[in-house]
Amino acid sequence: MAFDFKKANIRSIHTGLKEKEFSAIELTRYFLDNIKKNDKKIKAFLTVLEKTALSQAQEIDRIISQKGEIPVLAGIPGAIKDNILVKGVKCTAGSKMLANYRAPYQATVIEKLLNEQAVILGKTNLDEFAMGSSTENSAFFPTRNPYDLSRVPGGSSGGSVAAVASEMAFFSLGSDTGGSIRLPASFCGVVGLKPTYGAVSRYGLIAFASSLDQIGPITRNIEDAEIIFNVIRGKDKRDATSCDFPAGEKEEDINPKKIKIGIAREYFVEGLDKRIESVVRQAVRHYEDIGCQTAEVSLPHLDYALAVYCIISASEASANLARYDGMKYGFSTMSETSDLLETYLKSRENGFGREVKRRILLGTYSLSAGYYQAYYQKAQQARHQLMADFKKIFQKVDVLIGPVSPFLPFKIGEKIDNPLAMYLSDIYTVAVNLAGLPALSFPFSRADGLPVGLQIIGPSFTENRILSLGKLCENYAGEQ
């Protein structure tokens, strides 16, 4: 095959298909072959959809041969995190609870991808119910970081990210509740976008924390993330929290060099790995060199963000996961337990893993009589305060730049026995979900051979702005 898929992006693939430099079948086979070669080591996939992917590709070749028009995304093979429903396909949420659950309906984002004739290669591994930062909480197996197989790919969208990073998928979809797209993207050297809350429909996303969850694209480069984001976004009557973009900045009107970049002083705390700090400061200097203005700003309550996130996300999770009761679907002990309460207790004890149970316990506690005010209500008030802090900052600057993770990708098994150490992976990402803001994570540089991502955060609905700014720095590491 003359065409180099390694260097391709969505537009070059689209041109290549139209000009018949290769067929959609060849393109899909390339990725299916990579899955066969690499996935035994990396273990990104839970389900591979070889037959349907090839038949989707065949249909696109048929349209091309009849000189029909094809959408930009036609033939592009993607992988989908296994908490997003693809109708008729097993959807496990990385859990024993749904190990044999076959999706009875289609997620809106999948409908949109299929309307644009993207090809779906399979479903990828995740921390159980998206709760985790390393993909080690999957009930099935951990996924490995393609850069160093002894290390975690990050989580919870570890499988989606590892698939793109190791060329087993051209793009993937993940979900981000407290950093679950951005953290693994940083750990594996790929681009991940967490959209503004409400920009992308959550219909068909297995719910973890309904006021925090968002689906977003994971890609090799920023332009591809932008293309996929524009396909999957939009108001959906089946998700009452979704909305259309308000008429605002158009990409053409954004002059990246006129953007004022803020750097929060609270980011540079003791827990931040010095090598990552140096990469972030390098990025700031680079943006200054190309003409951007920078300014130091303050997020005075950033230190509380993780605690607030833990309480709110656990509380929402305890409510959302109450539906898994062994009655209608999912893991059930009903054939052994004839008592209703016993069925609830035994189905949930056996169906859920440790981390999920830990979070449900915290959520139930925070919402229970006598504790609700001190924990859940207090956390909601704190959340308001954090949102106000961001609003204040964005009166002074246009975006925020900072690290994605306080440390480099860690070894498999290193943090799994210490839940708090694991939660600390998210200190730079959770505040963004609490405030509903959009954030981009993209590979900026390396430290000791491991990828280091940079995070760009903007006010609501400024995806165009943060994507433009990211593009300015995108190939920086390559130039070093």
Partner: protein
């Protein structure tokens, strides 16, 4: 650190069983996390908005008409059920007196 019986109480509220050994394990982890999240008590917040409503979302209404549901989709849902009888989902008996 929370007592074992408190962990058991929350587990019962969460509707899952924990063995004695598991209870001890969760007690440690849970207490560790609880100690950490306690810090929000120190944060100064305004009492003005107790509703906890974070985003200014309006209620989205639709006409009160049942949605169309195809027999094929209904069949898919029934296939997922742990137990069925004829055309019904079969569940455990709901008694009056259990705690």
């Amino acid at each position: 650190m929370l007592q074992n019986k408190e962990i058991k109480r929350i587990a019962r509220l969460s509707r899952f069983d924990l063995s004695e050994k598991e209870t001890a394990g969760y007690r440690e982890d849970f207490s560790l996390v609880l100690n950490y999240v306690e810090k929000i008590k120190k944060m100064k917040t305004s009492d003005s908005d107790l509703s906890g409503r974070v985003f200014k979302i309006k209620n989205v209404m639709r006409p009160d008409r049942p949605a169309e549901f195809s027999p094929a989709d209904r069949e898919k849902l029934m296939q997922l059920a742990p137990q069925t009888e004829k055309n019904y989902l079969k569940v455990n008996l709901i008694k009056e007196d259990w705690s």
